[in-house]
């Protein structure tokens, strides 16, 4: 028997069942967005309509929340890209003291439960007497978005052969010229992918946001209110469906960007620079 001949039926079935478990529930929301029932979650829907889309379109509170979410996500992604790249750049260089501590520090904001990040930030803002505002939301989001960009950047750094930077210096490029002409073009797609994921993460973050927001409502906070006290089920259904579709785009984009990077490497057939020294 060869191990790799064929997966057993059991393995195949449980893999497919697992994937279905992951995806079917979310697809159900799409169905509910068209239901005529607006007082309960009745299944199967008694009838279908598209009127809730128009109703949602005319809701200023939804637009406001969406606007704030986009603004926060854009700002925290920008901060995360800068800080994450700097960090990855330093870590990709020669070993130095405290390396492990730094990588732990970067991972900590997502390794620890979000509620801890949230409550620490909240009490710190209180102590520092910083009023809760859009800025405090961004501050919180950027903190846990750094790691996403960092992970993407460092994975790419590892794949870029260090001899490329040496070749650049060897050909007369200063450190800044190497950064501009060699590092950025090679790192670009990884940063873009990291940025997209950071955007998606920030766009629907709710746990930290509940602690760092004042009166402002981001879209997830708006949804959370609806979840706790359902008042306008049909609108919530439509918003949920839109959120699924909106976050799908950056995730797919990030996937295609990083996948291309991997394929380039495979095509390159670059043998690992086996230095004798």
């Amino acid at each position: 028997m060869r191990f790799d001949s064929k997966p057993s039926l059991l393995l195949k079935a449980s893999a497919v069942a697992g994937l279905m478990f992951l995806h079917l529930p979310v697809l159900l929301i799409f169905l509910y967005a068209f239901t005529t029932e607006d007082k309960s979650y009745e299944f199967p829907p008694p009838g279908y309509t598209v009127k809730w889309f128009a109703a949602t379109w005319n809701r200023p509170d939804v637009w406001q929340a969406l606007g704030l979410s986009l603004k926060v996500a854009a700002a925290s992604t920008a901060i995360a890209i800068i800080l994450g790249t700097l960090c990855a750049g330093a870590m990709s260089r020669a070993r130095f003291f405290g390396r492990e501590t730094i990588s732990l520090l970067v991972i900590l904001p997502i390794a620890l439960p979000g509620i801890i990040t949230g409550i620490s930030l909240r009490s710190a803002f209180n102590i520092a007497e910083i009023p809760f505002s859009t800025l405090t939301i961004i501050l919180g989001h950027a903190t846990f978005c750094i790691v996403v960009v960092y992970n993407n950047a460092i994975a790419r750094f590892r794949r870029i052969s260090s001899s490329l930077f040496e070749a650049s210096a060897d050909l007369g490029a200063s450190g800044f010229q190497t950064f501009r002409h060699v590092l950025l073009p090679n790192l670009g797609t990884a940063l873009l992918a990291g940025g997209m994921l950071a955007f998606a993460l920030s766009f629907d973050e709710v746990i930290v946001t509940t602690f760092t927001a004042g009166q402002q409502q981001t879209l997830p906070i708006w949804m959370l209110e609806e979840l706790v006290r359902p008042r306008q089920r049909p609108v919530t259904n439509v918003v949920a469906m839109v959120v699924v579709l909106v976050t799908l785009l950056p995730i797919l984009g990030a996937y295609y960007l990083t996948r291309d990077g991997e394929r380039e490497d495979a095509d390159d057939g670059r043998k690992s620079g086996n230095r004798n020294a």
Binding site: L164, E166, A167, A169, D170, H181, P185, K271, A277
Partner: protein, 330 residues
């Protein structure tokens, strides 16, 4: 002649390990210089000390008489052909070659013209717009060469540049590199672990082992008068005779080397040593004959069409007195 590169008691340590251990070396301008050694011997580190990617822990590396320690790699008058070529994957062949001129501020028009000329030189005319990914190993190697040479370096460093090529291509590139060096007249420093490559291409070569230079000389000197057993072994399949065996065969009581092609096989008569044929291996134009001389083996290279005694028959081995070379150390 002026020295292009000098190593003045240079040591480079990585933690406890000395990759380069107290090397003194002077490489003249305009020569094709090879550094030969097994992997891990420190020869690549020597190259990186010249290009500036490593700094000496002790000692000085001088480039055209100037101490190099404070000069960053991008300001050194040397260029490198990297082992993995290190072509920029995001740039076309033309932009790869024009990279050096670009960072020096040469206009686009001029640097592309330079790139085209460099491509002509390495026989890749018309490859300007290709991506490095579309090239074969040999072509990438030529692009790497053109990219380095377009900067008109005074010293070109080549780090095992032919290692990834197949045998035929390698031999062709050896000839081309040698011809290129002759016509440009600049110093080539060539790192390799292939003794054939080192011997056939270089004007001078250094044999490196465990961070130390064990012998420097012309290929002829290294080949026929190795200083030590290591050099004799590494440079070519040489016979190494122990002091007892050397004395028994009429030489000095010292470790000695004896080239297989200098050994003649006869049926009795006067001989330096006598023994029995153990094995015969055909190598095309020649045959390699292994003879047991009582506790040790001597190999001889003989022409394929010369008559040979049958295996296990007693034979005499003889050579001219200057063929047996007494070495300085084991």
């Amino acid at each position: 002649m002026a020295a292009a590169v000098e190593f003045d008691n240079v040591t480079r340590r990585f933690g406890e390990i000395a990759a380069v251990d107290g090397i003194d070396l002077s490489i003249d301008e305009g020569v094709f210089f090879a550094m030969l050694g097994p992997s891990g011997s420190g020869k690549t580190t020597c190259l990186r000390l010249i290009s500036g990617f490593e700094q000496p822990t002790e000692g000085h590396v001088r480039i055209f008489g100037a101490n190099s320690e404070r000069i960053p790699p991008n300001a050194r008058p040397v260029n490198t052909v990297f082992q993995d070529y290190a072509l920029f994957p995001h740039l076309s062949v033309r932009d790869n070659i024009a990279f050096g001129p670009m960072v020096r501020g040469v206009s686009k028009r001029n640097r592309y013209a330079e790139a085209s000329r460099a491509l002509d030189m390495v026989a890749l005319t018309g490859f300007d717009l290709r991506s490095p990914r579309q090239l074969s190993g040999g072509q990438r190697q030529r692009v790497a060469l053109a990219r380095a040479l377009v900067n008109k370096p005074r010293v070109l460093l080549l780090d095992e540049p032919l290692g990834a090529l197949d045998l035929r291509l390698r031999e062709q590139m050896q000839d081309e590199l040698k011809a290129l060096q002759k016509s440009l007249g600049i110093t080539f420093i060539f790192v390799t672990h292939d003794q054939g490559e080192a011997l056939s291409m270089s004007d001078r070569l250094a044999v490196v082992n465990r961070g130390k230079i064990v012998q420097v000389g012309t290929p002829e000197e290294i080949y026929s008068r190795p200083k030590s057993k290591f050099v004799a072994d590494f440079v070519g399949a040489s016979n190494v005779l122990s002091p007892e065996l050397s004395a028994r065969s009429g030489g000095a009581a010292a470790w000695s080397s004896l080239r297989p092609e200098f050994v003649r096989i006869s049926r009795g008569g006067h001989a330096n040593l006598s023994g029995k044929i153990r094995a015969v291996k055909y190598l095309g134009a020649t045959r390699r004959v292994t003879v047991d001389v009582g506790g040790a083996e001597i190999t001889a290279l003989v022409e394929a069409n010369s008559p040979l005694p049958s295996p296990d028959s007693p034979v005499g081995l003889s050579w001219s007195p200057e063929a047996l070379h007494a070495m300085e150390s084991e």
